[in-house]
Amino acid sequence: MKRLWLILPFALLVLFLGLATYQLTQPKDEFVRSTMIGKPLPAFDLPGATDEAPRVASGMFADGKPRLLNVWATWCVPCIAEAPQLMELADRGVPIVGVAIRDEPEAIAKFLETYGDPYEAVARDDIAELQLAVGSSGVPETFVIDGKGVIRYQHIGDIRESDVDALYAEWEQAQ
């Protein structure tokens, strides 16, 4: 019993060393994942890209067609990097709804003119209410929403060339 007590500090140290070594070798997960996967897309009703454009609301996700919900912004540099990939997905027939975070109508128009417009509709989310409601913690992020309006998948960060097929597959799966 006494001996056991004397070994305890050593044992605790070994536990700590194991944990520390394991964590040192792991890549650091910088992102906070949404825990809304499998849950319905929260109701929202946001202004469109310009003041004249129609409002964008959660109702449009309930028409039986799966969609991508792309959280982006004109002030975000990786969003420029992912623009061609979004265009490619749109060309392959994927409907994409954009949510521009803390943005201005003129900036949005200019961005879409410069880098292409893959969107079925763009909503302006000036106070990040939809972004928070779906559990997104940064821009850009892309969610797959199925035909019943349930969130199926979250892609964090810009969509690279290599991500396009996976994302397309997730969208097909959500049919």
Binding site: K2, P9, F10
Partner: protein, 649 residues
């Protein structure tokens, strides 16, 4: 040339460090009389001189901003004021490692020069252990982080120092903290020597005590300064966030505090032998764990500077060798150490055991909370642990500890009775009950804050009760030290509880000329104008503060540094005897309005004044113990001389 000189001195010092280790080890192995075995002490002393030369060379290249040295080019800039150019020398990984090794060398030299109380074999073992610890850091410096590496061709311009770090408080922060860590490493070496030579009596405690006290004083000051720095520099008005980096500095302090008290039991009564030895290892291991957590970047923190996983791996290897070795030695040897003396529940030792158990439990809670997110991450979930967890859980252990502290110092060693201290006991209970009722009836303070304020009030008086029945002039210096430290704890606790219970915050968007009420004051934004500093430009708000006998200007700034480009918020503080008014100039809010964030924090400054008093108490204790140890030696020598005279006669 200077850089090469520094590097050469560093290599030579490393060589001497090897000699110190080998010679010490041979000495322990029985070859104490051999020529090599006698070299440990001189090796330690010369080594420290070489390290001072090396560090001076580093200061020199930073002072003159020698851009042909890679470290200077990466971390400095001639536009900075001289003081920050110099402090830039240790505001980076390589330089801070050199500083650490230099302080370690100086402490080894002090041990080698002045420590005469233990026998030769013990000293050899201690110096060997000290050399072994230093060797790892020498290897780290010379093999993977050479501070004197040249850059060819020299850089044109430097990168500058993170503007958040251009601050006098922060310049002094690492040296203070390192002094604490090194002090604990000396205690560690003594403990290892005790395990090797099986000497764990009161003499060990007396030898360790000044180092533990010095380390503890330095850690106390380091934590207090770091907390104050975060308070005014980060601009959120908070002074403690239970952030992993803060916890990393708190854990060695908790262990050192426990060690300090168990050492005093061992010194006075020859009890708690194994426990003291274990704590000696734990205290140093906490400083290494802390360094690892901060430097490896495996934890997310607001204070994370100089993060690099590779360095983390290096520190982890050193930690494995030193602490793993020491714990293994402990498991093997501690069982064979003679058990110390026994004591009754109601006794000074009993109170100090409560202190040790509770401090260890708090340490365990902080360690658990700090490491748990890492563990959870390994299992694929992410959790955050903050004040709502730490505050109540540590309080479970802290409150009984404080209660025992109220009368513990009044108890006699070995065995005592509560009836003997009935009067002081009644007094502190009355203060506790009185302050709790006043707080509950007249303020809206929360549960923890109420307990904290009541304990602070009782402790403020109780800490001086050991003076009862003593002649003031004959009170030992060490006792003054301990009373002052306990009183400082009460002061600090009062500040913490008062800040958390009575702070007022105002967050407003105002035009110039608008007036807002904040606590007992009226604040009016007079103007927002640009000002220029040596390497920054800023927007400065002028806020007129009136009321409660005050009529003054607060000037918070939003600063923009140019090298490297970064914005910081400079809080404006108005310090009064009864608290601080804290002002931040935020963003422009549109239509000519500015965001202002104002706090009135009653008695918040007591937190840090308390910290200073605690440290002062520690310093008094060091001098007290050193003085009495010199006296003891004089008496012994006198005794020996008389006996020799008598024998001769």
């Amino acid at each position: 040339m200077i850089a090469e000189l520094g590097l050469a001195a560093l290599w030579l010092a490393a060589g001497l460090c090897v000699l110190q280790f080998v010679s010490g080890a041979i000495g322990v192995g029985g070859g104490a009389d051999s020529a090599v075995g006698a070299l440990a002490r001189p090796a330690a002393i010369v080594q420290s001189l070489l390290l001072v030369i090396s560090f001076a060379c580093l200061l020199r290249v930073f002072a003159v901003t020698d851009f042909s040295v890679a470290l200077v080019a990466a971390n400095s800039n001639p536009d900075k004021p001289l003081i920050y150019r110099i402090s830039g020398a240790w505001g980076n990984h390589e330089g801070s490692m050199l500083l650490w090794v230099t302080i370690l060398g100086l402490c080894s030299a002090l041990v080698a020069l002045f420590e005469k109380r233990m026998d030769d074999r013990f000293m050899k073992a201690a110096l060997a252990a000290q050399g072994f610890v230093a060797l790892g850091f020498f290897g780290f410096l010379l093999l993977s982080s050479n501070p004197f590496a040249r850059l060819d061709p020299p850089a044109e311009i430097g990168a500058g120092l993170n503007p958040l770090l251009q601050d006098i408080g922060l310049a002094m922060h690492p040296p203070t903290l390192y002094l604490g860590y090194v002090g604990l490493s000396v205690a560690f070496s003594f403990v290892v020597a005790a395990l090797i030579t099986r000497q764990a009596g009161p003499e060990l405690a007396r030898v360790m005590r000044p180092w533990v006290l010095a380390a503890w004083v330095a850690l106390t000051l380091g934590i207090a300064a770091g907390s104050y720095w975060a308070y005014y520099e980060l601009g959120w008005g908070g002074w403690w966030f239970w952030d992993p980096v803060e916890n990393a500095s708190l854990m060695p302090w908790l262990a050192a505090t426990a060690l300090l008290h168990s050492v005093s039991v061992l010194a006075a009564r020859d009890a708690l032998r194994t426990w003291t030895i274990l704590l000696g290892v734990v205290a140093f291991s906490m400083s290494m764990v802390g360094t690892f957590l901060v430097r490896s970047g495996i934890l997310t923190s607001v204070h994370a500077f100089a993060v690099d996983p590779e360095r983390g791996a290096f520190i982890l290897v050193l930690l494995t060798i030193y602490i793993g070795g020491a714990f293994a030695l402990f498991a093997l040897r501690a069982g064979s150490l003679a058990e110390g003396k026994r004591f009754a529940m109601v006794s000074r030792e009993g109170a100090l055991v409560v202190n040790n158990v509770m401090l260890s439990a708090i340490l365990a809670v902080v360690l658990l909370g700090t490491l748990y997110p890492l563990l959870a991450e390994a299992f694929g979930t992410r959790v955050s642990i903050g004040p709502p967890y730490y505050n109540p859980v540590t309080a479970i252990f802290a409150v009984p500890m404080f209660l025992v502290l109220l009368i513990g110092p009044l108890l006699r060693w070995k065995r005592d009775s509560l009836s003997r201290v009935a009067v002081p006991l009644a007094i502190v209970c009355a203060i506790l009950a009185g302050s709790v009722s006043v707080l509950v009836l007249f303020t809206g303070a929360g549960v923890l804050a109420t307990i904290g304020l009541a304990l602070a009030a009782a402790l403020a008086l109780a800490s001086w009760l050991p003076l009862r029945g003593r002649q003031l002039r004959r009170v030992p210096l060490a006792l003054w030290g301990s009373m002052l430290a306990h009183f400082g704890l009460a002061v600090s606790l009062c500040g913490m509880a008062s800040e958390s219970a009575f702070s007022v915050e105002r967050l407003v968007a105002v035009r110039t000329g608008d007036q807002v009420e904040i606590g007992p004051f009226l604040a009016r934004l007079e103007s927002v104008e640009p000002v220029a500093g040596p390497n920054w430009t800023a927007l400065e708000g002028k806020i007129a503060v009136t009321g409660n006998g005050v009529d003054t200007l607060l000037r918070p700034q939003a600063r923009y540094f140019t090298q490297p480009f970064q914005g910081t918020s400079e809080a404006a503080l108005l310090t009064l005897w009864n608290g601080q008014l804290y002002g931040i100039l935020g963003e422009a809010a549109g239509d000519g309005r500015w965001q202002l964030r104002l706090w009135w924090k009653p008695f918040v400054t007591l937190i840090w004044y308390g910290g200073i008093l605690i440290a002062l108490g520690g310093v008094l204790s060091i001098f007290g113990h050193l003085r009495s140890s010199v006296r003891r030696r004089k008496i012994r020598e006198e005794f020996a001389r008389r006996r020799a005279e008598r024998d001769a006669a």
